[in-house]
């Protein structure tokens, strides 16, 4: 039985890594999508979009994988959480649809390019905001009876979840700016650095607010962070976050640093992610069901684990390979002489 129980930690790690990868990968391309709306002319929009065109659909498949892996490994969480965030999920999906087709349509349908340009930028921002609302609603917890969500579909819209929605817009914006700094040069890179600074300010303000708000609102979370010796053990998290924030700010200013802003932002995301995980552990349906209670049958988890352990490394390998193929700066001197 101990062996059987050990599937849950493995699935927790796989799902945690998968969700984090999704947040990073689709995060930067959603962020690029938002900044796309700020690009001044067709030439810069073309370049901005070129920087993510070969990889965006691969990034979005992580969302599907995250969704179905949650359903397969922790079905109880899926069937409670998804109905509880009915509207944000639907809004996110519709926005992703719009933004996804805009890649192709904008390129091939010159007559309606402005329409698709808007679709791309607004789709990105709406999808991001909706994801942030989902996150906020998740942290606040749901009204549950037995195995079902029993609140209303509007419960998820609260001041807190609106705040996390805004936070994620700044966060993905920062990731996107970091990506563009790596991929572009000259004016466009300078613009990305400028946008990055504004996003960073927004991100830090939101992180601070959320960090104060959650322990005040949830006694369990306050208990987790402010009881001895937890406070001492967890102290590195706020300290590292502050250091990372400072590093990102410096590298945004420093014209020679191409990779600094993106890597630093990844670090910031990791810290925030860890912060949330520490607050909620071991719950997967906050304040109600633990990972173990929500897990699917060992037989289901085992069956999927076999393939996952074989396929996931391969997937990671050739995902990296396709990033490698399209590495380097997107150049402005091709195609418009």
């Amino acid at each position: 039985m101990t062996f059987v129980q050990s599937f849950v930690p493995i699935w927790t790690v796989i799902l945690a890594v998968g969700v984090f990868l999704y947040v990073l990968l689709d995060g930067f391309d959603l962020g690029v999508g938002m900044l796309y709306g700020l690009a001044p002319d067709t030439r810069s929009r073309n370049l901005v979009m070129s920087s993510i065109a070969p990889v965006w659909d691969g990034n979005e498949t992580w969302l599907i994988l995250g969704g179905v892996a949650l359903l397969a490994a922790f079905p109880l969480a899926f069937v409670i959480v998804i109905p509880a965030v009915y509207f944000p999920v639907a809004i996110m999906l519709l926005a992703l649809v719009f933004r996804g087709v805009a890649f192709e349509f904008r390129y091939r349908d010159a007559a309606h390019r402005t329409f698709w340009d808007h679709g791309f930028a607004y789709g990105s921002i709406v999808a991001t905001f909706a994801q942030g609302v989902v996150l906020g609603a998740f942290i606040q917890g749901f009204k549950i009876d037995g195995r079902q969500f029993v609140g209303t579909s509007l419960d998820c819209f609260t001041p807190f979840s609106i705040l996390t929605g805004i936070a994620l817009v700044f966060g993905y914006g920062l990731l996107g700016a970091g990506w563009l700094i790596m991929k572009l040069e000259g004016d466009l890179q300078r613009a990305a650095r400028r946008h990055g600074r504004w996003c960073l300010i927004g991100v830090l303000a939101c992180i601070a607010t959320v960090s104060i708000w959650t322990p005040l609102a949830q006694a369990q979370i306050a208990e987790r962070w402010f009881s001895w010796p937890n406070t001492a053990l967890l102290l590195p998290i706020p300290i590292v976050t502050a250091l990372l924030a400072w590093t990102v700010w410096r590298s945004l200013d420093h014209a020679a640093s191409s990779f600094g802003p993106f890597l630093g932002t990844v670090g910031l995301f990791l810290m925030s992610y860890l912060g949330i995980a520490i607050s909620l552990w071991p719950m997967i349906v906050p304040y109600r069901y633990t990972l173990w209670e929500a897990a699917s049958s060992p037989k289901s988890q085992a069956f999927l684990l076999v393939g996952t352990l074989i396929l996931l490394p391969v997937i990671l390998l050739y995902t990296s390979w396709s990033y490698w193929v399209f590495r380097g700066k997107v150049r402005a001197d091709i195609g418009y002489h």
């Binding site: 067709t42 994988l65 079905p75 899926f78 998804i82 393939g307």
Partner: protein, 463 residues
């Protein structure tokens, strides 16, 4: 006003899946077609294969992009609108869905970038492999999704504990009784759907006299292919029907429009079903033929719907008519393919305007048949989500109100009514450009791809 979340959720699901299924119906076949063309080019090095492949890759990339985004919506429907179904069945079906994500989707998405943008960035063999992988990916995708669908139709390999399904034998879960037939019938249908699109586009190119050589290559290859596939599909369909008779007799009764058990049973060609009185009006039927076709004997018994309690009968109208539409499409296809083959004598298949025009008109036949077939099998499964075990009415998310679903349903309607015509418009433009547009080298080796940067600059916005 009272709005029923169950009915609205069903309509919403119909809406999003019906639009979605059109894309795999096309991309599964076209991915294989591209792989074949790339393979022919790899072996023969003849430029024309590359040109044809490049042309279809463009159409593929548009439809695949739409398939990805409309596909993301599907698994989330299980959570948003069908949470009780998900709660009951997740242990059995969710791993299959996850395998779909793992094996197929990633194979497609990861190699797609190389197929679309990487021709000059990777060695020739690697590009061919990427084309093959994308094709395999679409097939794996179909495999897992149809395994899930088939399990809902003919559940096997499970045990029920506290009202929820748990896996007992994975082999039986996946290879459940209807799965092999459904998989073969569906994939063959997808190939045929693509085939008729290729036929229609090729006929149009030939008639316009701009890309006659390319058009001829497409037309000829595809016509041979369809000459094999269309008759094969009729056989597969017959086998699938026999499988339905064995495992889902109530669905078969609905398809046949049969309320009363009969032996020998006639074949009802047409009629107006009247569910309330359980009778067919204005029936046109051929005696004996029903028994002959379905039981392969003249005296075989076909059960009628009256053998089941009223609350376990599927509605008759949709499966009855949809089935006849599907079969009608199949017969039209068969006629066209035979006609084209006869016209090969003296090369008239590329000169006969009547034939070429018919090919153009027939390009939507596959889609109509796929939708009709899907309607037949899914409505025929009602009133169950898991056949005979879990009712559709017990599957819907309990927290939803009718208004909730109405709002999202309107959202899905609006968005789809923008993106699908948009996609069609874009694809029509690609077809109008024809296969020659290939070779406008927008990609330089060693550099990141630039298809988007190659856009003509809009007036006035040039730097």
């Amino acid at each position: 006003m009272h709005l029923d979340p169950l009915i609205l959720s069903r309509l919403q699901f119909v809406w999003v899946i019906a639009w979605h299924i059109l894309l795999p119906a096309f991309t599964v076949g076209v991915a294989s077609f591209i792989a074949v063309m790339e393979g022919m080019h790899f072996v023969t090095k003849r430029e024309i294969y590359l040109q044809v492949s490049g042309f279809w890759i463009k159409l593929f990339s548009v439809s695949f992009g739409m398939g990805v985004v409309s596909g993301i919506i599907m698994p989330f429907q299980f959570g948003t609108n069908w949470s009780r179904f998900s709660d009951a069945t997740a242990n059995v079906v969710a791993p299959l869905l996850a395998y779909e994500g793992l094996t197929a989707f990633f194979l497609e998405a990861a190699f797609l970038g190389v197929l679309l943008f990487g021709r000059n960035l990777v060695p020739r063999w690697a590009h061919f492999v990427a084309a093959l992988m994308v094709a395999f990916g679409t097939l794996f995708s179909s495999f897992w999704i149809l395994a899930v669908n088939s399990w809902m139709q003919t559940p096997a390999g499970y045990e029920v504990v506290d009202g929820r399904f748990f896996p007992a034998d994975w082999w039986q879960v996946i290879f459940n009784p209807s799965f092999p037939y459904r998989l073969a019938h569906t994939v063959c249908g997808f190939y045929i759907t693509t085939g008729f699109v290729v036929l229609g586009v090729a006929a149009w190119l030939i008639r316009r006299r701009t890309f006659v050589v390319e058009g001829r290559l497409m037309l000829s290859t595809t016509l041979w292919l369809l000459l094999a596939l269309v008759p094969l599909q009729i056989v597969l369909g017959d086998l699938h029907g026999l499988n339905t008779l064995e495992h889902q007799p109530a669905k078969l009764a609905a398809i046949e429009g049969r309320y009363d058990t009969a032996s020998p049973a006639p074949l009802t060609l047409f009629g107006i079903p009247d569910g309330k009185n359980a009778v067919m009006h204005n029936e046109v039927a051929v005696p004996w033929l029903g028994s002959l076709l379905l039981t392969h004997s003249l005296r075989g018994e076909i059960k009628g719907l009256k053998d089941w309690p009223v609350d376990q009968r599927p509605p008759v109208g949709p499966p009855f008519f949809a089935f006849r539409i599907m079969v009608g499409c199949g017969l039209l296809m068969l006629a066209l393919v035979i006609w084209g083959t006869v016209l090969r004598r003296g090369d008239r298949f590329v000169t006969s305007v009547a034939f070429l025009r018919s090919c153009q008109g027939a390009s939507i036949l596959g889609f109509v048949a796929v939708l009709a077939g899907w309607t037949t099998t899914e409505v025929g499964r009602q009133p169950w989500t898991v056949y005979g075990l879990m009712r559709t009415a017990d599957s819907v998310t309990p927290s939803l109100t009718g208004w909730d679903v109405l709002v999202t349903f309107i959202g899905y309607i609006l968005v789809y009514l923008i993106i699908y015509p948009g996609g069609l418009w874009v694809m029509a433009k690609i077809v109008r450009h024809g296969p020659a547009a290939l070779g406008d080298a927008t990609i330089e080796s060693g550099r990141p791809m630039q298809p988007v940067a190659a856009l003509p600059l809009a007036e006035g916005s040039a730097p």
